[in-house]
Assembly symmetry: C2
């Protein structure tokens, strides 16, 4: 049996915004706090995998060096690309109540774009962004190719909130188009989602189970 721990990166060092492809960093203070907790539980991990973006990869590289375990960067496990709004601070986007947006001009379009996207990300994609369907397929393929091949490893994968949601959708057979997976299910910064993977000897199928979703990092201390 293998265990796979999906760690969302720490809070990024920038104003509130949609951060997807934007390669923003986590402050070294926050990364060091997470690193200390991980080192205290280093016996749990035999390999480190990471998104290529700095908010994940910097911590992953520091941790793999400290515990002298292999690291693999998986390009396809980076966050969704939010297009024109990616990395643009919410405070810099002019706000008007979207309920009156039909009666007004172009300067009110941005918040209408965002509100519609939250309510139905498939029907109202953001301009020049990655389609949700393409994102789901990218994560699904990377998951199947890169993460279900292990038979006896304990994997730490440092990645993003959107990526963790799409992996859960794949494993639990959820509808990846469901907007509530994004608006109601919180995947906190530095939270851990714990999965196990077990090849069934009866039919060689891979039985993936979800043990905990978005638990605080210190949940690693619990008996399992």
């Amino acid at each position: 049996m293998s265990h796979i721990y999906l760690l969302r990166h720490g809070k990024v060092n920038g104003p509130a915004a949609l951060y997807g492809k934007t390669d923003i960093e986590v402050s070294s203070t926050i990364d060091n706090e997470i690193l200390t907790t991980l080192i205290n539980h280093q016996d749990k991990f035999t390999q480190v995998l990471t998104s290529p973006l700095k908010r994940c990869a910097t911590l992953a590289q520091n941790f793999s060096q400290q515990i002298k375990k292999p690291i693999t960067i998986i390009e396809d496990l980076q966050e969704i690309n939010f297009g024109d709004y990616d990395g643009r601070a919410f405070d810099d986007i002019p706000y008007t109540d979207p309920s009156i947006a039909n009666t007004v001009g172009d300067d009110l379009r941005p918040w209408t774009d965002l509100e519609r996207f939250w309510q139905n990300p498939v029907k109202y994609p953001l301009p020049d962004a990655e389609k949700l369907n393409d994102f789901y397929l990218r994560i699904k393929h990377a998951w199947q190719a890169q993460l279900t091949k292990y038979t006896d490893e304990n994997i730490l994968l440092i990645t993003h909130g959107g990526v963790i949601r799409m992996i859960l959708a794949e494993v639990l057979g959820l509808d990846w188009k469901n907007a509530k997976l994004f608006s109601q299910l919180q995947i906190g910064n530095a939270s851990i989602t714990h999965l196990s993977s077990n090849i069934n000897p009866m039919n060689s199928s891979n039985d993936i189970k979800v043990h905990a979703i978005a638990m605080p990092l210190s949940g690693l201390t619990a008996d399992e």
Copy 2:
């Protein structure tokens, strides 16, 4: 804002079986371990709610007495009724590989019943059991009537794995017929699922968020 902590009862004191309506107990040793952890975090809770079944209610009563907070028993938040198989030890059910069950006699029917139920609980309900649809509606109505009315409370609800899954289906808009919610999503004994409930002043709607699912009980110690 209110917080709602869904605690699944401890491991029951009996052989492996489907326990639904069967009123089996948790050993006092296990209940006392959980009680100690809860008392260490008693400041988090202002009210105790519980299923009427002993595996939940005994702990709930002990805890509410210790911390001198009100307790409410909610009849409708008990587990699904598994009918003829409820409480019947798996070891007492004759086993034959279901793939050859068509070629054999009646004594092999029970495992075929169970295998089919796991794969598609809506299409293949267990004999004399509560229908999954009825169970979902029971939990949905109890949730809406009993748990979304609080505006500034911290609720501990001690209940069952099936009940927690149905609450998650309701809050996250998941398909309650999805068999993987039962077979792949583990809700461990004595695990905590943390939700928050916030009345939106803009439109008086109730915004429920899911912060962590099935985290080990000691996850309560984390910053939140």
